[in-house]
Symmetry: C2
Subunit: 203 residues, 2 copies
DNA sequence: GGTAAAGTAGAACGATCGTTCTACCAGGGG
DNA sequence: CCCCTGGTAGAACGATCGTTCTACTTTACC
């Protein structure tokens, strides 16, 4: 009876499916309710897999948390990059993060802000997931620096302000002002780029 | 032997002391490690009070969490207001939040960002503490609207952008870029106020 | 002086936590 | 054909969780 629904796939495909279902279930629960508030039994039940599979794939809850944060990081990078690629103008490419935010997680999941900031708040500094989230922020900063260089911005270290605005936008969404957050964020980002004389932008 | 160190105070003073010590211990632990990660035993031990006292004063962990968030909200309001009062120029009063951030919690506690955003991420929507944090954000927005009206700003609803910048600044601190966060926040806030033609500011 | 209030220490409750274990089943390759 | 791999179900582990309880001490007030 067990695993009957999986019959027909190859063993490797089933294995990938188990890991993927665990990550998906972990993301839905950890993000919505907080990491420490969710027990492994709840994740396992939502994923529809056996408890032992969790420990086979991730070694424990800590590994699952790290896997959840890695998956979310990678998914956001892909999503963001796709929106960057929709523009050719270098300044619009630097601002593409806001259109990415508009099409991110279309509402079926309650917006609780930045999952990686939340992880850094909840996890001890030496938790494997904390390293993932720190690296996520480092990546964001670095990517914006690249985009500013490509835009010929004389002060690419102004990427810090874009990161500030980005996280402020997510914070505003988490606080319940999600409807206005993105437009305000985009407005502030344009002001910031203008003030650093990256180039004139239309708004 | 028990309570000997308290001898000499009045009963009311001791009672206030017990509550205050609980709130202080709760804040230090909940903020540093996350709410769900901290057990009531740890709070009670750090406060140096009996377990029963916690339930006498707060009814349970949920009440203690709400009390912690209320205390932090009130402390921040006082701190902020004191910095507002240091200026007479209306625009500087609207920007006083950044000097307030510079003197907030002088480093002995690791900066983990906005406690109220963290609470909204970790607590269920119907938790008594979640209501406190929602009201906290509502207060911030309202207070900035007042300050913008007093500054003669033609668009006081631009207070939303100040809230965005404020929370972005805290997010940057939580991500480990605390040294640059406040100056970037202040810079963005000046740009925002200028763009809404509140008045020319020097910077 | 006696009583009620508010504190203390510490044991105990059932529930849930993360983790491990036993047992069984399916598929693929030697 | 057999066995190894990777999945399943579910019980069990000790630890910790939030909460309640008993018993005792101190203080304030009548």
């Amino acid at each position: 009876m067990a695993g009957a629904q999986q019959t027909g796939r190859t063993a490797q495909a089933r294995r990938e499916s188990v890991r993927q279902r665990l990550v998906t279930a972990a993301e839905e629960l950890f993000y919505a309710q907080g990491i420490a508030s969710v027990g492994v039994d709840a994740v396992v039940a939502r994923a529809g897999v056996a408890t032992a599979s969790l420990y086979k794939h991730f070694g424990g809850k800590d590994g699952l948390v790290a896997g959840y944060l890695e998956a979310r990081d990678e998914r956001w990078r892909r999503h963001w990059e796709a929106h960057i690629d929709q523009h050719s103008d270098p300044l619009e490419r630097a601002l593409a993060v806001f259109s990415a935010l508009e099409t991110w997680e279309p509402g079926h999941m309650p917006n609780k802000g930045c999952a990686h900031l939340a992880a850094l708040q909840q996890l001890p500094a030496d938790h494997p997931g904390a390293a993932v989230s720190r690296q996520h922020n480092h990546y964001l900063l670095d990517r914006w620096r690249q985009l500013l260089v490509e835009a010929g911005c004389p002060q690419p270290e102004a990427a810090t302000e874009l990161l500030l605005i980005y996280e402020g936008t997510l914070g505003l969404q988490a606080a319940g002002y999600g409807s206005e957050a993105v437009s305000h964020g985009r407005h502030l980002a344009r002001l910031s780029l203008e003030s650093h004389r990256c180039r004139e932008t239309s708004d």
